[in-house]
Structure formats: C-alpha cells, structure tokens
Amino acid sequence: MGGTSSKLPKDLLSEYQELTFLTKQEILLAHKIFSELQGGENGPYSSRVSMQKILTLPELKANPFRKRLCHVFSTSDMKDGSLNFEDFLDLLSAFSDTATLEIKSHYAFRIFDFDDDGTLDARDLEKLVNCLTGETDDTRLTAEEMRQLISNILEESDIDKDGTVNLSEFQHVISRSPDFVSSFKIVL
C-alpha cells in the first residue's frame, strides 16, 4: 500500500559497491526495481520476495534457467527460491559486465547442476540440453542424439574420467570459449 520507495542508506550503498561488481547507478536501479517487486512494503532489507514475483521481471520471464537462478542465489532456509535484496544484488553482480570469468563460471556451474550434488553428471547434462533446446517436438533431441551428445560432452570435458564434470573441468572448458563472458550477462 502507498508505495513510498525507501531510500538506500549511503553506508549500505558504499558497502555494496565495494563488495559487488556493480556500479552505483546499477545498485540504485536494482534497489528501485526490487522495491517495486516488494509491492511498496517498507520492510527491512532482509525481507524476501517470493520466486513467483521475481520471475515476473522482464529480464527473467522468458529465460529457461530462471528457476535455477532463483534457487542458486537464494539464501532462504526454506529453499523456496525467494530472494532478499542482497541475493538479488548477488545475482546481478555475477551477471554484470565486469564480473570475472571465474565468478561467472562458478555460478554457471551451480546453475547447471540441477540436482545440487556438486558435479554435472549425465542426468544434469540431459536436463541442461533440454532447457537449451526447448520442449517443442521439432527442436527436442531424440533419445539417440541425446545419448550421443552426452557421451561426446563427457569425452571432451571429463579429464579424469570419472563420468561427471566437476567445477575445475567445467572451468577448463569455459576458459576455451571466448563467447561465454559476453553471453553470461544480464543488464537491468
């Protein structure tokens, strides 16, 4: 009700500037958008916005990884994917222009790890490919193609041959892709 936007205190702003990759303008914009999502409640900075509301943002609405994004960046105890303002800043910081390859690949790994077990096994890869290609019949891969694809991926990226891709192997693959940094970006 009312919708009076609370201002971000200066010391918090400077702290966020030091600790994230975002610039001052980006943080203020994020704060504005987050306040709108909160629906004008003047809650403290630890109040959470539910996942459904976060997913109404235009930058995330059509993204096939949106649910994973919420889960990865959420610090909620209930594991419901709700984000508070700092989680939101974390998300934007990891996807910002100036974030390093290491940060981005770290978070990309966690986003692609659908079962949260710390490695990308065949099931994770299958879910990933399905997310990428979509669910319609003409774009989905056949079972045979999927099997071939996953075995090729594991052959190329699993260096220690344990059947899964761990963080280091993932980062090694990513380091060879020059397009990763520019495609792993979200701009508000």
Partner: protein, 755 residues
C-alpha cells in the same frame, strides 16, 4: 594457475572418499590455517585422526607439495576461507599470474559471507576480513569507489597500495554510457551478433572523434582564427544544394580543403611581416603551419595505428585459444545460451538455433567419414570453381569499368557520376555474390560466411586500389591535363563526394533493401519471417567508409567531422530499420571471433592501405605550386626536413640533427632492421605458443593418469576395509592405520607402471 586447479580437483575427488570412509566435515577455522604436508614429517605423528588419513591418502596420490584443504563440497565457510587464503598466498609469494588484474575480484564470490553485521562483538573479525579484501579491490572501475576506499580508516602503507586514480579514470572513460540503453534493446532482441555491428560502429565513431579533435584543434582552429592570405576570386554559385553534395563551389575555398591552409607561419600580431615563401619564425607568436600540418597528420595516423593494434591484440587475446581443436560440443552446450536475450520470440528462436546447431554438430562429430561418391565430389568442385570464376570475373569487370570511367569522364556534370557509379557497384555486387553462394550450397555456415566476406572484401579493395591509382598516379602527377590548379583540393573533394554518396546509398539500401523487401516478402511472397540483418555486409560497408575517411584526412582535414555526422545518422537509422524490418538470424554467428576478424580487417587492408597511400603522397608526390601549406617544396616531407635544418642552423650544438635525420628516416637500412626485429619477435612468440600447447597436452594426460591412480587407491582401501573386519563402518580405528599405510606405501601394481 594449474596447481590450484589440480588441488581443487583433488578436493573435489575427496568428496568421493567421504562416501567410503564417512568422515565429518572439516572445521573451517582449522583449515584456514593452511596445512602443508611435506615428506619430511614423520608419518607416525600424523596418523592420529581420520582427517590426517584422508590427507595422507591424497598426498600419496600425488607426489608434490601442495596446500591441501579437504573441504566438504560446497560449504560456504570453506569457500570463503579458501579464497581469503588464496589472496594471502598471492600477496606473500607475489607470483605473477596471467590475469593478475582480475584476480583480486575473485576473492569475493558473494557478499553473503560477510553479511551486514551491526553487532559490535563480531565486528573486529569482520573488519579484518574486510580490510584484507578491500586491499585487494584495487582495480575498481568507479572513481567514486576509489574515493570511498580512501576515506576508510586504512594505514598509509595500505593506502599506497590502493592503485592509481588515473587508472580508474581511464576505465571510467572507457565505460562511457553512450547509447547504452539502445544497445541493450538491440542485444535483447537480436542477440550478440547484431549487437557486435553496433558496437563496431561505436568504436569507429570514437576513432573519428579522436581524429577530428586532433586535426581540428591543431589545424582548423588556428587557420580559422588567422586571416586567410590567399586572395581568391570567389565566384558565386547558384544552386547551394548541389554544392553540399559536390563539395565544390563555395566549399572549395573553405577550411574543408587543403588549399585553404597557409604555407606561411601564422602570426598573431600583424606588425611583423614575414617574407613570402620562407618559413622563418619572426617576431610574435608564430605558428608554423606547414610543419604543424605535416606532423599533425603523421601523429594522428601513428596514434590511430597504436590504438588499432592494441584493440586488435586485445580482441585476439579474447578469442584465440591455444588448444582449440577439441571441445566444440562441450563449449557449445555450456556457453551458447545468451542470457541477454529477453524477448519471448527471440528466446524461442535461440532455442531453435541451438537445437539445430547441436544436431548438426553431433552428426558431424560422429559421422565424420561420410564420403561422397567421386562423381558428386567432382561436380561440387566444379560448381565451386564456376562460382569463383564468376565472382572474380565480375570484380575484374567492375575494376576495368571504374578505370576507364575515371579516365574519360571529365567536366562539371560528371563530378557526381563516378561516386554514384562506384557506390552502386558496391551495392549491387554483394547481392550478386550472395546469389552465387546460395547456388553453391556450402556445408557449414561459417565457411559460407568467410567466403562471402572475402569476396566482398576483394571487390572493395580492388575498387579502392584503382581509385587510388587514378588520384595519386594520374591526377597528382599531371594536374595540368585536367586543368587543375590545386590537385589536393580536388582529391579532397572527390573523397568528400565518395563519402557522401556512400551514405546516401546506404540510406537507399536500408529503405529498399530492408523496408521494401520486408513489405514485398510479407505481402507478395507471403513469408512469415522477416528478412535477416546481414551483419557481414554492413560491417564491410562501415570499413569501406572509414577507409575513405582515412585516405581523405590529408587532403581535407574536416573529413572526420563529416564521417562523425554520417555515423551518428547511420546508428539511429539502422536501429529503427532493424526494429521495423528485421528479425534475429537463424544462423549461428560466433560474435567474438567475427569481431576479431572485423577489427583485423579494419587494421590490415583498411588502415594500412590508407597509411601507405598517405605516406606515398607525402614522400614522393610533388605538392601543387600555388596552393596549400606545402607550396614550392619538392615533397611534403621537406617541411620536416627543412625545420631540422633550420634548427641546426640556428643552434650550432644541433648540427648532427639533419644528418641523423637523413640516416634514420631516409636510409632504408633502418627500416629493414626494424622489420627484421619485428619478425624475430613474432617468431619467438609463436614458438612459445607451440610450447604451451604441448605442455597443455602433457598436463591433461597427467590429470587422467592421476584420476586412475586415485581410483586404484580407493579400491585398494575398500579392499583393506573388507579384509580387516575389526573395523566398524563408521569409524576408522587407529590400530589398523599403520598397516593400511604399509600396504599403500608399497609401490606395487601401480597403473602408472603398466601404462
């Protein structure tokens, strides 16, 4: 570097060990002390706890000295301590790593680990941690942040480590917000490929702004302030509109062209009189226009060259990978999703793209040996050859047409004819090449891309070559035959006309090529999809326009300003047309690689060609005798030489200057020597890259072997567990450990020896 990733790898695999032995997760505080295992420590002392057994096992798997931290997977505390320790390590050891500028930022994976604590009790600890981090936050991009950091209560020695303010200013400048929202819109809807075109346009704009500032401040403004001392009979022309197009008439005796610039030093006061045609500096503040003109153009080109080469090498560094032979599928799956794309239809399109590419790649990787029958291969080869003959033939025909056209077309009416002719060739022929390529049916779209770019490039380079020959070879050497007094102004006008016509034809192309074609294809052909934005063609057009601007700077110092206006218009026009008429492409476009290729093309044929032409003009061609700053000199280069001689004459200490100048600049030996040194440096670097490639292969083999070692050791350990049935599944008793170690330490049947 590699060691860290190795240790991380081992840590990941420690995870597996926990399943076997069921150990409790480590205390983050303890492991933050950092434990080093060396061979020197006696083993008996270590075997007192489960944790040490794990460490020992891991140590046995490797035979190096590493900092081992067995973390339990993804625990936050472990990650934070790990990063803090890493930064501490780095600062202590001061090793130089490849991307040391970026390293400090990796010390802050998230802000959650620090929390925003108001509780005073935990504040000291927080403060220390934060202080350590802040020390690492050196390369911040916002000048505000640096100021804020300075205001923090840090000791002076630590403040000294906080880096140069100027560096943050530079990066602040480079992240200029020009067109940021517009670019975001374009990227969100059309993806990174089309976005790279607009970013390239912005880059060109900055180059032109730089050149305009340099020539404007040093040449145009002084000459505008001083009185023109050429008395001309300016005949009044009637149609003003046509003059903007032709650049002649009123403009031909203006600041726009070379002919306006004085060859005498410009004086501030008029009390002193300078003798005509002497470049002596007399009383008052004199501004030696010929010298300044010569050095300004030279310096502008030199600095542009440096900036271009730097941009190119940076772009190369991002897109060139040492071992790029394998890993295509994995790279495609992990990094092809463009998170910038927001629009639902574009997302759907992106998914369709990726699906097609993955299917093609899987088929390609697994059916590589698909051989066509010999007859079909010959047939395809002959089609390719036919296509190439057609393209080259049409290029040759155009070149000859331009050659004869330029030779025989004279007079007022035909001033615009040649530019119109060349621009229409540039417009129509790439379309023809596209049709030919469509007939050819290439296997992979990237090969098709490269081929069409190279054909287009060949056309533009040959046309420009013929035009340069016409201007510098014919017009410049024999201006009397064309009735020209001031051939430099004439060439400047020609280039102005070419630039303008290029712009007008781009407008027409946008209107006809994109707008009308879309209307036609939707209404008449009833296609659902709008036409696609041809990135390669548009970028080559930009490069062509920029080459013209660079060629013309010597003859028309205000030409960069014209180019700036043109680029500004073009940006908005293309953006509007894109939104209305085009849709995202269905073909893959490797943005990073293509951007590198375009910057390379900008540097090599375009800039290098322009620089060679300008250098040739300055070095060999005789300037016209009655206009411009170099009247009466043998060539433009003489202006610099004369100045050295005058300096030497005025100041006896500098008598070596002209002779040094003669040896360094005019003697070709120096040029050969420097070229030779460059080649040696390039060869050395390529050898280093080869060596690194070999090392990477060896290291990958090594990782594989160590993975197998680990598997072997784990199975052995399981074996031992089962044999010694005194052990409960949840705890490892201390008694059995020495035996277990004996077993492990015996170097029997290790896979390494079998391999």
């Amino acid at each position: 570097g590699v060691h860290d990733s190795f240790s991380q790898l081992i840590q990941e695999q420690c995870h597996d060990l926990h399943d076997v032995i069921e150990m409790t997760p480590l205390d983050p505080e303890e492991e933050s002390r950092g434990q080093i295992l060396t061979r020197n420590r006696p083993l008996r002392q270590e075997v007192t706890s489960e944790r040490n057994l794990t460490e020992l096992l891991v140590f046995q798997m490797t035979s190096r000295v590493w900092r081992l931290r067995c973390t339990s997977g993804r625990s936050r505390g472990a990650i934070i301590s790990q990063y803090c320790n890493r930064t501490m390590q780095l600062r202590r050891r001061r090793q130089s790593r490849p991307s040391i500028q970026h390293f400090p930022r990796s010390a802050r994976p998230s802000i959650r680990g620090y929390g925003v604590e108001t509780d005073a009790a935990g504040f000291e600890e927080e403060e220390n941690k934060r202080e350590r981090l802040v020390n690492n936050l050196q390369n911040l991009s916002d000048s505000d942040r640096v100021r804020m950091l300075r205001a923090m209560p840090l000791s002076l020695s630590e403040k000294k480590e906080l880096r140069h303010g100027w560096y943050s200013w530079l990066s602040f400048l480079s992240s200029l917000q020009l067109w940021q929202t517009a670019l975001k819109c374009v990227g969100g809807r059309f993806g990174t490929g089309v976005l790279s075109y607009f970013i390239f346009l912005r880059t060109l704009l900055f180059f032109n702004v730089f050149m305009f500032l340099v020539t404007g401040l040093l040449l145009v403004v002084p000459q505008a302030i001083a009185h023109p001392d050429l008395d001309q009979n300016i005949t009044v022309r009637s149609t003003w509109g046509l003059e903007v197009l032709t650049g002649a008439g009123y403009f031909s005796h203006s600041l726009l062209y070379y002919g306006y610039y004085s060859n005498k030093p410009l004086q501030t006061g008029h009390s002193c009189s300078a003798s005509s045609n002497k470049t002596s500096s007399s009383c008052g503040l004199s501004y030696n226009m010929p010298l300044i003109y010569f050095f300004t153009i030279g310096a502008a080109f030199f600095i542009t060259c440096i900036i271009l080469v730097y941009t190119m090498s940076k772009s190369f560094g991002q897109s060139f990978r040492i071992d790029k032979s394998k890993g295509l599928l994995a790279i495609k799956v992990f990094s092809s999703w463009d998170f910038k794309v927001i629009k639902k239809s574009s997302v759907r399109l992106q998914r369709a793209n990726i699906s097609t590419q993955l299917k093609e790649l899987v088929a390609e990787v697994n059916h590589q040996k698909l051989k066509f029958p010999v007859l079909q291969r010959l047939f395809r080869l002959s089609i390719h050859m036919l296509a190439w003959i057609m393209c080259l033939g049409s290029t040759l025909a155009c070149v000859l047409a331009v050659y004869y056209f330029s030779e025989y077309m004279h007079g007022e009416a035909s001033l615009l004819a040649i530019p119109v002719f060349v621009s229409s060739l540039n417009l129509l022929l790439p379309g023809f090449f596209n049709v030919v390529a469509w007939m050819e049916e290439y296997d992979s779209p990237s090969v098709l891309n490269y081929i069409s770019i190279s054909r287009n490039l060949l056309l533009k380079v040959s046309v420009l070559g013929v035009l340069c020959y016409h201007w510098l070879g014919r017009v410049a050497t024999d201006p009397q035959s064309l009735g020209l007094e001031c051939w430099e102004s004439f060439v400047g006008q020609e280039l102005y006309r070419f630039l303008l016509m290029d712009f007008i034809f781009m407008l027409l192309d946008t209107f006809f090529g994109e707008f009308l074609w879309r209307v036609f294809s939707q209404k008449a052909l009833k296609r659902e999809r709008k036409p696609v934005f041809d990135i390669a063609r548009n970028v080559l057009e930009l490069i062509y326009g920029q080459t013209l601007a660079w060629l013309g700077v010597l003859f028309s110092p205000l030409l960069p300003a014209v180019q700036i206006i043109k680029l500004l218009f073009l940006f908005y026009m293309k953006k509007v047309s894109l939104k209305m008429n085009c849709q995202a492409s269905g073909k893959p476009w490797r943005a990073c690689q293509m951007t590198t290729i375009f910057i390379t093309l900008l540097c090599f044929p375009a800039f290098l060609g322009a620089a060679v032409c300008v250098t040739y003009t300055m070095w060999t061609i005789k300037p016209s005798a009655s206009c411009g700053p170099f009247q009466g000199l043998k060539n433009m280069f003489q202006a610099g030489k004369r100045w050295f001689q005058e300096l030497a004459a005025a100041n006896p200490d500098l008598h070596w200057l002209p002779s040094a100048h003669a040896y360094l600049v005019e003697n070709p030996l120096f040029l050969f020597l420097s070229a030779g040194i460059f080649l040696i440096v390039i060869y050395f670097h390529s050898q280093v890259v080869d060596g690194q490639r070999k090392i990477i292969e060896l290291l990958q083999e090594q990782i594989e072997n160590e993975g197998e070692d680990k598997k072997f050791l784990i199975t052995r350990l399981q074996h031992i567990h089962e044999r010694k049935r005194r052990v409960t599944p949840r705890r490892v008793k201390e008694a059995i450990i020495p035996d277990a170690l004996h077993e492990l330490m015996e170097p029997q049947k290790r896979p390494q020896q079998q391999l």
